[in-house]
C-alpha cells in the first residue's frame, strides 16, 4: 500500500548529503537564531524591567516548570497542575469548535436554505467581543471547565465554519452531480462527499483556530480563575513579575509551535490525495 502512493517527488531525489542536511537546518533555524540574538542584545541594551532578556525568560521557565526531580522527567508540579489542564481544555474546545464549525459550514454550503438561515446569526455571533461576552458564559455555565471549553470552542468555530462553507459551496459541480446520481442519502453525501471535498479548507481553518484556541484559553482564564497558564500570565503581570509573564508568552508560542507541527504532520497524511490530485504531474 505504501509502495503505491509513497510521496512522488521525494523518493526520486538523490541521497541527501550532510551538506544538504546542514543547509536545511540553517534554513529552518537560522532566522530564529538571528532573531533571538537580536532580542537578547536589544533587551540587554534597553534594560527595561518590562522587557527581560530571553536568557532570563528561559531561566524563569526552567525554575517554573522544569525544576522537578529526574524521576518526573525534571518537570515540576505546576506544569501538571496548571499548564496541563489548560491545554486539555484548549484541545477539547478547539476540537469541539472545529467539529461544530465543520458541521454547520458543510451543511450550510451544501444546502442554501440552511446557509441563508444560519449565516446572519453566525456573522452576528462572530463579531461579539469575546471579553465582553465572557460574563454571559460565566452566568450561564458557571465558573468551571465546561464554561472555559465552550468559550474556546465558540471562538474556534468561525474560521472553520467560514472556510467549510466556502469550500462546500464551491464543490466541483460534476462531483456534486455524481454524488446525486449515486443516490447517496443526504447524510452520506454530506459526510463522504461534501465534507471530504471541504477537508483541505477545513483543516486550513483549524490551523487558524489552533492559535486562536491558545489565545482564548488565556482569555477564558482571566475570569474567575485561580490557576491555569492564562491566570498565571495576568497574575504575573499584576505582580510585576515580568519574567514570568514573558515565560508564559514564550510557553504559548512553543506550545503553538508544537501543536502546529503535529497538526501539519497529520494534515499531510490526511491530504495526500489532495496534493497529488491537484498538483498532478509536477
Amino acid at each position: 500500500m505504501s509502495a503505491v502512493i509513497s510521496p512522488a517527488p521525494v523518493s526520486v531525489r538523490p541521497l541527501r548529503t550532510a551538506a544538504v542536511v546542514a543547509g536545511r537546518f540553517v534554513l529552518r533555524f537560522g532566522l530564529l537564531a538571528v532573531l533571538c540574538w537580536v532580542w537578547q542584545r536589544a533587551t540587554e541594551a534597553a534594560a527595561n524591567p518590562y522587557f527581560p532578556t530571553p536568557l532570563q525568560i528561559l531561566d524563569r521557565m526552567r525554575t517554573l516548570w522544569f525544576d522537578g526531580p529526574a524521576s518526573h522527567l525534571w518537570t515540576s508540579a505546576p506544569l501538571w497542575t496548571d499548564v496541563a489542564p489548560s491545554l486539555v481544555r484548549m484541545l477539547i474546545g478547539w476540537l469541539g469548535g472545529s467539529l461544530l464549525g465543520a458541521a454547520i459550514g458543510v451543511s450550510a454550503g451544501a444546502f442554501p436554505t440552511v446557509r441563508r438561515m444560519v449565516d446572519p446569526a453566525a456573522q452576528f455571533l462572530r463579531a461579539l467581543p469575546t471579553p465582553a461576552i465572557l460574563p454571559v458564559f460565566l452566568i450561564v455555565f458557571g465558573a468551571n471547565d465546561v464554561m472555559r471549553v465552550l468559550v474556546i470552542a465558540f471562538g474556534c468555530t468561525w474560521p472553520v465554519l467560514l472556510n467549510a462553507m466556502q469550500a462546500t459551496g464551491a464543490i466541483d459541480p460534476v462531483a456534486r452531480d455524481t454524488a446525486r446520481t449515486l443516490r447517496l442519502g443526504p447524510r452520506r453525501r454530506l459526510v463522504q462527499v461534501d465534507l471530504c471535498y471541504a477537508t483541505p479548507a477545513i483543516l486550513a481553518g483549524m490551523r487558524v483556530g489552533l492559535a486562536l484556541a491558545l489565545v482564548l484559553m488565556v482569555l477564558s482564564e482571566w475570569v474567575v480563575a485561580t490557576s491555569g497558564l492564562g491566570f498565571f500570565l495576568v497574575d504575573s503581570q499584576r505582580h510585576f513579575e515580568f519574567a514570568g509573564m514573558w515565560a508564559a508568552m514564550v510557553a504559548l508560542g512553543v506550545l503553538g509551535y508544537v501543536f502546529n507541527t503535529v497538526f501539519t504532520a497529520l494534515e499531510r497524511r490526511a491530504l495526500r490525495w489532495h496534493r497529488h490530485s491537484r498538483a498532478r504531474h509536477d
Partner: protein, 306 residues
C-alpha cells in the same frame, strides 16, 4: 441612565487650562481620586501653580503601565500595586498619598440565606475579590488572622467588579468583597447580608491610593511635584472637611447615580500627603499576606521636591 448613553470619557477631565501645558493625571473616576477631579475643576491646582487635567483610567491594567509608557506623567494607583512595583525595582515614586479606608467603604457580602454570617464562617468558602492586589486581598487575610483563623482556608477568587453581583447570585462564589458604589448596586439586585466591614478596627485608615510618578519625571520636574503636593494636601483637607459637598459632587465626575451618592460612605483623605507611615503600615500588611518579601521601603519612596 441618561448619563450612560453619553459619550464616556467626555465627562472625565475638566481642568481650566490656565496657561502652560496641563499635567494629565490618569485616575479612575471614583471617590478615591476626588482630589484630582475636583481640584482641577475648582482651581486648587492652578492656585498652587500647576495646571492639572484628570483623565479617567478605565483599563483593568495597572495605571503604572501608562505611566511607564509616558502616556501620563502622574497617575493614581492602588497603593499595594505601587509597593509591588517598587519591590520589583520599577522606577516609580510617590507624589502624594491619596485616600484611606474608612468603615462601610469596603465590605464582604453573602447572600441573605447563606450560613455565612461573619468572618468566622468564612473558612472553607470562597470570596470574590476585584483583583489579586486589591485592598480585599489584604484586608481579608488580616481579618482572618485577627480572628485566629488560617488565611489560607479562604479561597480568594479574582472576579471583575461588574461581574461580582452575578457571580454571587449564581452561586459561583460564596461571598463577594466589593467597594462602593458596587456594594450598593449588589445590595439593590441581590438580597445580601454584610459579613464583614473591611476598614474597621486596626484596619481603619489603611492606605488605599497614592499618586505616583516616575523617578525621572520627579527629578526633572521638582516644581511640579511641589505644587501638586501643595494643592493635593489642601484639596484633601477640604474634602475631609465637607463630606456632604463631596457627596453632591460625586455624580458630576463619576458614573454613580445621585441617589446612590447621597448615602455613600466616603474614604478619608490624607492630609499629610508625604507621610511614609501609612505606606509602612501597608507594607507590613502586604508582607503578612505574602505579597511582599520585605517591609523595608526604599529611601526615595517619596519623590524629592525642590
Amino acid at each position: 441612565t441618561t448619563d450612560t448613553t453619553a459619550a464616556p470619557g467626555s465627562g472625565s477631565g475638566s481642568g481650566p487650562a490656565t496657561g502652560g501645558a496641563a499635567v494629565v493625571v490618569d485616575a479612575p473616576a471614583t471617590t478615591s481620586s476626588s482630589a484630582v477631579y475636583l481640584g482641577a475643576r475648582n482651581g486648587e491646582f492652578a492656585k498652587a501653580g500647576v495646571t492639572v487635567q484628570a483623565h479617567n483610567h478605565t483599563s483593568s491594567d495597572s495605571p503604572l503601565v501608562g505611566l511607564l509608557g509616558n502616556a501620563y506623567p502622574i497617575v493614581w494607583d492602588n497603593a499595594a500595586d505601587y509597593l509591588l512595583a517598587v519591590q520589583k525595582k520599577l522606577a516609580v515614586t510617590v507624589v502624594g498619598l491619596s485616600d484611606l479606608g474608612r468603615p462601610g467603604q469596603l465590605e464582604v457580602l453573602a447572600k441573605a440565606d447563606s450560613p455565612i454570617r461573619s468572618v468566622r464562617d468564612l473558612p472553607g468558602h470562597s470570596v470574590a475579590i476585584p483583583g489579586t492586589t486589591s485592598s480585599c486581598a489584604l484586608t481579608i487575610p488580616a481579618q482572618l488572622r485577627a480572628a485566629g483563623l488560617d488565611p489560607k482556608s479562604v479561597k480568594l477568587v479574582p472576579v471583575a467588579l461588574p461581574d461580582e453581583g452575578s457571580a454571587l447570585q449564581r452561586g459561583i462564589v460564596d461571598t463577594v468583597c466589593a467597594p462602593e458604589p458596587f456594594l450598593s448596586t449588589i445590595r439593590k439586585t441581590v438580597s445580601t447580608r454584610s459579613v464583614s466591614d473591611q476598614f474597621t478596627g486596626p484596619l481603619t485608615d489603611t492606605l488605599v491610593g497614592v499618586y505616583v510618578t516616575t523617578t525621572s519625571y520627579a527629578q526633572q520636574h521638582p516644581d511640579v511635584i511641589a505644587s501638586f503636593r501643595k494643592a493635593l494636601a489642601a484639596e484633601n483637607a477640604a474634602l475631609n472637611a465637607d463630606p456632604d459637598a463631596l457627596r453632591k459632587a460625586v455624580p458630576t465626575f463619576t458614573r454613580v447615580d445621585p441617589s446612590l451618592a447621597a448615602g455613600m460612605k466616603l474614604p478619608g483623605f490624607a492630609t499629610n500627603v508625604t507621610d511614609t507611615a501609612p505606606l509602612q503600615k501597608l507594607a507590613e500588611l502586604m508582607q503578612q499576606a505574602g505579597m511582599l518579601t520585605s517591609t523595608a521601603l526604599p529611601a526615595d519612596v517619596m519623590a524629592a521636591d525642590r
